[in-house]
Amino acid sequence: MPMKKFINDPKNLTKELLEGYALAYSDKVKLVSEKLVVRAQPKDSNKVGLVTLGGAGHEPALSGFVGQGMLDISVVGDIFAAPAGPKVFEALKLANRPAGVLFVVLNHAGDVMASNIAMQMAKKAGLNVKMILTHEDIAPGANAPATDKRGLVGCIPLYKVAGAAAEQGRSLDEVFAVAEKYNNNMATLAVALKTATHPSSGQSIFDLADDEMEVGMGQHGEAGTGRSKMKTADETADIMLTQLLEAVKAKKGDKVFVMINGAGGTTLMEQYIIMRRVGQILEQKGITLARARVGEFLTVQEMAGFQMHVAKVDDELVKLLDTPCNTPYWGES
């Protein structure tokens, strides 16, 4: 079956989508050097800068979170592919400032290679950069080595708390500590219902029977652990939340931040129904739902499914989540 998407030349997808995005939010972001999305109004150079990288095709991630209070630069690669290392270095150089730069990397092989190249070059050039790797996917098991765990939607609230800390004028070490605290207390699990079409190749990124779902599916169709017959919203939420709460060791009296992130082909209706069940379970367990977000933050084209993200938070992290920001897709705080 031919691909049914509103595109032009598949070779120009990233370029064209970024041009449209920058045009739509020209008060908040601008496009530099083709693949760098930067803040429209640069942050004061005595405040720590935030840089991230990742492939395109996951809109609004990751560039949707560039703006006052979150990211300074997002380096964008081709569809589902890391940008080149030297391009990432260019972004670090552009963001470099006396206060230093926090560089957030999601654990995916290509992203990590590009980041290591960029960091080697940054070191040679004497830039003040600290890198943090997110790896909160618990599909391979909560205790699997960090190298086996992918970075999923959790990078986005991490940008939020680190970005708010940076805006307060905290030092690079302090901003890193905030990011590290969030990183060490978060977990994400994904579930897929229907595949997506890769917009460059026109091919389906995975196969899943009509009556099946798969828990643990990655954001590029990477296989998960729990393929099963389709379940109800409540059953699915129960399975996922149980594992997530265990992973972040949340117990009675703790506070959590929850995100239900639609993969692109799952309705908000379904996401709210999932959220409702999450709230019920938390209440039963005596865990406080401190804050929540429901909607599309990091998508996989028209894939149906969602990512459930849970972070154990303290008062400091809640305050940083609440601090107003001005980015196209985080929404009102």
């Binding site: 492939g55 890391a82 080149a84 290392g85 290679m113 190249i117």
Partner: protein, 203 residues
């Protein structure tokens, strides 16, 4: 020592690119089985960048390889550009006053790749072709050494068919990767075949 000169290295890179271009569709279809289906496109971009960099006159072989590696790393496209870029940059280690010592160059290439990949033989990655090729690269002449390397790379790539992916994105498909030849290893085999053909032609 199997040493080749500056012009030989340029010809090796050009021949490798031609070989890979001729097999672009095959490489993409191999990738479609376990990945995005874009490996053929990416690897062609990588080789185009390598050829462009090698075609520009440099002061020495080592300077040329450094530039080739750099330009390859500048290609957008996931893991292949940093891995192959490092390989070319590392090959500069084999540069001597008399030319490029192939065995030392390829060993230097692997060493540089090791900064980014810990994959071993059997993990179903490009290392399944690279490592046997480098180990086999010896003989009475550069052309014999490259022929041995190309044959070893080809066998290594074919062997990936029965392996389960343990690295990169395909790893997540686990046993579902069995029966599919690894596209990265296949590209490397074509690259070494190109290298061998370039030096054979000289004789």
């Amino acid at each position: 020592m199997e040493t080749v000169g500056y012009d030989d290295v340029v010809r090796m890179i050009r021949a490798a690119a031609a070989k890979i271009h001729a097999n672009e569709k095959l490489l993409s279809s191999l990738d479609a089985a376990t990945g995005d289906g874009d490996h053929g496109t990416t690897i062609c971009k990588v080789m185009d960048a390598a050829v462009a960099a090698a075609s520009e006159q440099a002061g020495s072989i080592s300077e040329m390889l450094d530039r080739v590696g750099w330009e390859v790393m500048c290609v957008d496209g996931g893991s292949a550009p940093p891995l192959l870029g490092s390989f070319f940059t590392g090959m500069a280690q084999g540069a001597t006053d008399g030319g490029l010592d192939l065995a030392a160059a390829f060993q230097g290439g692997v060493k540089a790749m090791r900064e980014h990949s810990q994959a071993q033989i059997g993990d179903k990655t490009m290392m399944d072709a690279v490592l046997p090729a480098v180990a086999a690269c010896s003989g009475d002449s550069p052309s014999a050494a490259l022929r041995a390397a190309a044959d070893a790379a080809t066998r290594g790539a074919e062997a990936t068919k029965n392996m389960t992916a343990k690295f990169g994105r395909a790893r997540n498909l686990g046993d579902r990767t069995i029966g599919h030849q690894d596209p990265g290893a296949t590209s490397v085999a074509f690259m070494f075949q190109g290298f061998a053909e370039a030096i054979n032609e000289r004789k």
